[in-house]
């Protein structure tokens, strides 16, 4: 096996995947249902997400960390395994397209209104295709290099919004019924805590596998904690009423901050961190899809599939949802159940594989 990644590189990919999927959207999605208790929804989603990923990772460990696609073949047999692998590849491409659309939505609504979304979609896909062309190792190396910088951007952004934080905006705690908090948690569970299961495709490449479950879970826990803190700070700054009306409330909160007379409009700091973070998420999903196709075709390389898949992702990112509202509604209502279906099938297949191993 030529490809080997370090535990820190794997940790950084999981961390970036968790934080940057949701940091700008999560406050809005949770607050719509749970109002000022949105942070409780996020906390609940983190707890359930950690439990779900613990089960997934423990099963991977029991199987000896094989490739995700190889594991499906081995556990479910040739035909069902192949069908499951095709489904996983489709999920990865679907997620890639959704994140590309999310990025272009953000650019044309908040950063540069009246510009064409196609520019941002094509540019990000060119960078992702170039990264994939140079291999999965390249993605992990870039992640290792950029993670400290973008983490500093996020920490810095969160520190500057503390200034206008008012605890009164979060009170009274538990004011909303449990069903509202559950609904808020439901929306953010799939996005990002179940989606992260795609990163399991890289587990086999981690060089030192001792404590790998703890490392993956700590990346999810730290990423989730950042999201909980973000939701608390955003609600405390803008109030649940305003946050529920924003598409990207974290960015809007930052817009109101001016550090000095020289440094105004500092919201672009978190915007840059988010764009770089989304690059990692898009590249991760795209590479998983490429690895899946490589496994299905038994090829030595996936380079030949990059161009047709990048074209497909671009078309899907525009074709799946006609409007931004349709996109947001789909993510908050159907996305978690959609991913939970894949999660359940993969877990059941892994359990069948274990039973077959023991028999």
């Amino acid at each position: 096996m030529n490809l080997q990644v370090s535990r820190f590189q794997f940790f950084s990919i999981v961390l970036n995947f968790i934080i940057y999927s949701s940091i700008l959207m999560a406050p809005g999605i949770t607050v719509i249902n749970a109002k000022q208790d949105g942070w409780l929804s996020m906390l609940l989603a983190l707890g359930v997400g950690l439990a779900a990923n613990f089960l997934y990772l423990m099963l991977f460990k029991k199987h000896g960390y094989p490739s995700l696609f190889e594991l499906m073949d081995r556990s479910a047999g040739k035909w069902i395994g192949t069908a499951l692998n095709i489904v996983i590849v489709f999920y990865a491409l679907h997620l890639t397209a959704m994140v590309v659309r999310n990025l272009s939505n953000f650019m044309i609504t908040d950063v540069s209104p009246y510009s064409s979304p196609y520019i941002y979609q094509i540019l990000i896909l060119l960078v992702v295709a170039y990264t994939s062309y140079h291999g999965v190792k390249n993605l992990f190396l870039i992640s290792e290099l950029f993670t400290p910088f973008i983490s500093l951007f996020v920490i810095g952004s969160l520190i500057v919004i503390i200034k206008h934080f008012k605890i009164i905006e979060l009170k009274p705690f538990f004011y909303n019924p449990p069903s509202a908090i559950l609904e808020g948690a439901y929306s953010t569970l799939g996005f990002p805590f179940i989606e992260i299961m795609l990163a399991g495709a890289f587990l086999t490449y981690v060089k030192r596998k001792d404590k790998l479950v703890s490392i993956a879970l700590s990346a999810i826990a730290i990423g989730g904690a950042v999201l909980v803190i973000t939701v608390i700070l955003v609600i405390g700054n803008d109030s649940a009423y305003i946050v529920a009306r924003e598409s990207y409330p974290t960015y809007s909160v930052m817009r109101d901050v001016s550090l000095t007379t020289t440094f105004k409009r500092v919201e672009i700091i978190i915007g840059i961190a988010w764009i770089i973070g989304l690059f990692f998420k898009i590249s991760t999903c795209f590479c998983v899809a490429m690895m899946g196709i490589k496994h299905l075709s038994k090829s030595k390389t996936f380079r030949g599939y990059i161009v047709p898949c990048a074209i497909l992702v671009w078309a899907m990112s525009n074709g799946l949802h006609k409007t931004f509202i349709d996109f947001t509604n789909f993510v908050s209502m159907d996305w978690t159940l959609y991913w939970f279906t894949l999660y359940s099938f993969v877990i059941i297949t892994m359990l069948i594989g274990l039973a077959r191993k023991r028999a």
């Binding site: 679907h94 069903s179 559950l182 609904e183 439901y186 196709i293 299905l296 075709s297 038994k298 090829s299 030949g304 599939y305 047709p308 898949c309 074209i311 497909l312 671009w314 078309a315 899907m316 525009n318 074709g319 799946l320 949802h321 349709d326 789909f330 209502m333 159907d334 159940l337 959609y338």
Partner: protein, 61 residues
Amino acid sequence: MQDWKTTMKANKTTREKIVLAIVWGFSLYYIIGYLAGIDPFPITVWLKAIYGPIYHTLFGG
């Protein structure tokens, strides 16, 4: 250069050729459908039809 290309083509197995043809075929089918203004693979509609009722059962309206 020509030799390299010929060798690469010759090295492709039937399975690889089939998968590559399927990937290109689906991509072209989807992009032509999208550019023609039709939904060539209405996955969003199907997913809403499957999960929408479950969501409404769980959380109401």
